[in-house]
Amino acid sequence: MSKLRGTGFAAVNYPTGMHLGGDPTQSLVHATTSGNFVVTMSSVDLGQGLKTILAQIAAETLGVPLDTVIVDTGDTDTGPHCTGTFASRTTHRAGNAVIMAAAEARQAMLEVAAEKLEVSVEDLETDGQGNIHVKGVEEKAISVAETAGAAHFELGKTISGRGIFLKTPSPMDPETGESDPDSTQAHACTVAEVEVDTETGNVEVLGFKSAYEVGQQVNPALVKGQIVGGAWMGMGHALQETTAPYYPAIDHAPGDFQSYVMPGAADMPSVECEVLEIASRNGPFGAKGVGEMVTNSPIPAIVNAINNALGVRITRIPVTPEVVLRALDEKAANAT
């Protein structure tokens, strides 16, 4: 009866996006009468921060202040099509669609401004503060709000744009099994340290040290949020969470939060992480997907650390106290 420590690591590479008929996402961008911009999407923000990210991308592309962009993801029945929020795809797909739509809307905006200022579109630039001015001549300017007003009430034009991301569909070759399902790959490595109580079978995770290569970060605080939340989810999947504890038998399937146990606030160890930025060629501003792999690397790292501590080879999750104690029994039986 003792407490044994172990260290384990795991590396993953994680695809951004997937097959599904080209995996499309569309976006519509338009200016309101007051010069705000609405980005209409069917992509869903689950709390990962998609609306913030798409507003950033739209504001950057349009050349307008972030707080004048409204992202409307209200209704998948009536909005432009989106395949969905999964496969770590949405920043990449929706972000690319928004860039395309916002670029077209920017062009329309500059055309109206050019007409008002009596200059050519090529001579105009935005200051990101809500103004459009002639390059090098800041006094010769018109605000975005005035431009939108003129488009609506004077010139009879819309300031709007359409965008889509569609990857060339790539059906699987029946001979070789080959296909090209994703658009880019992110990478991760996690080192986990654990302490295993050989009397109770309980595993405590002492700490995570991770490196994540996520392409260009669009929003570093949100990336960090995914990493810390993902470490916790990984811990739950590695040690506790299952809907079928005696799979394939379905006995003792949990039905509520008293029996589907997850790690609590007190179980959370420190999460150290380094984020590496190697821009992807096809992501918005070089972004890759980060949503899911942050849960994938901690799980095998924890199981490897348990195996390292005990000198056993457990290959399924979750590694509950019962699994630990049975593995120790088996090890003892094999030794005699």
Binding site: L222, G229, W232, M233, D256, G264, A265
Partner: protein
């Protein structure tokens, strides 16, 4: 078991209802009074998303029959917000990115307020114990713990980090 008239003081307002024996406080707060910060994560006492303060104590409104708390004073997040006592905590939640989907946030804030009311200077262990009844599926808890530590540091005059 019969329906009865029950009176409560909810967020400073006197309220009276006719309720059945097992009508939960959660249903009255959400559906009758429209205090929608009281969430319904499980209705079984397992998630803490329905946390409220009853006569100074942290309670789960889903497991509380209204008839049993007749005459009590109930505070939801809306009440804490009106009295402005959680402004610092709200700011810390923003600064530390302590909410993602936000579903757990009202219950977390009520639980944290109850913790700070009984212990204005909690240790890390006391903080995690204070959050033990509240599930968060998104944040991994660390940002929430940091937000509480930030408020505590502010209240004791040190810097928020």
């Amino acid at each position: 078991m019969a329906s009865r008239i029950v009176s409560l003081k909810v967020n400073g307002q006197n309220e009276e209802f006719i309720v059945g024996a097992l009508t939960s406080l959660q249903d009255i707060l959400r559906d009758t009074l429209n205090y929608t910060s009281v969430k319904e994560g499980c209705r079984q006492g397992g998630c803490g998303s329905c946390s409220v303060i009853i006569d100074g104590e942290l309670r789960l409104s889903c497991l509380t029959p209204v008839q049993e708390v007749d005459g009590s004073e109930v505070t939801t997040l809306e009440g804490l917000n009106q009295s402005n006592s959680i402004a610092a905590l709200q700011q810390q939640f923003i600064d530390k990115y302590a909410a993602q989907c936000g579903f757990c946030t009202p219950g977390m804030m009520v639980a944290i307020q109850a913790l700070l009311d009984r212990n204005p200077n909690p240790s890390r262990d006391e903080i995690t114990e204070g959050l033990a009844g509240n599930i968060c599926r998104c944040t991994g808890y660390l940002p929430i713990i940091k937000a509480v530590e930030g408020v505590v540091a502010e209240m004791s005059g040190a810097s928020g980090d």
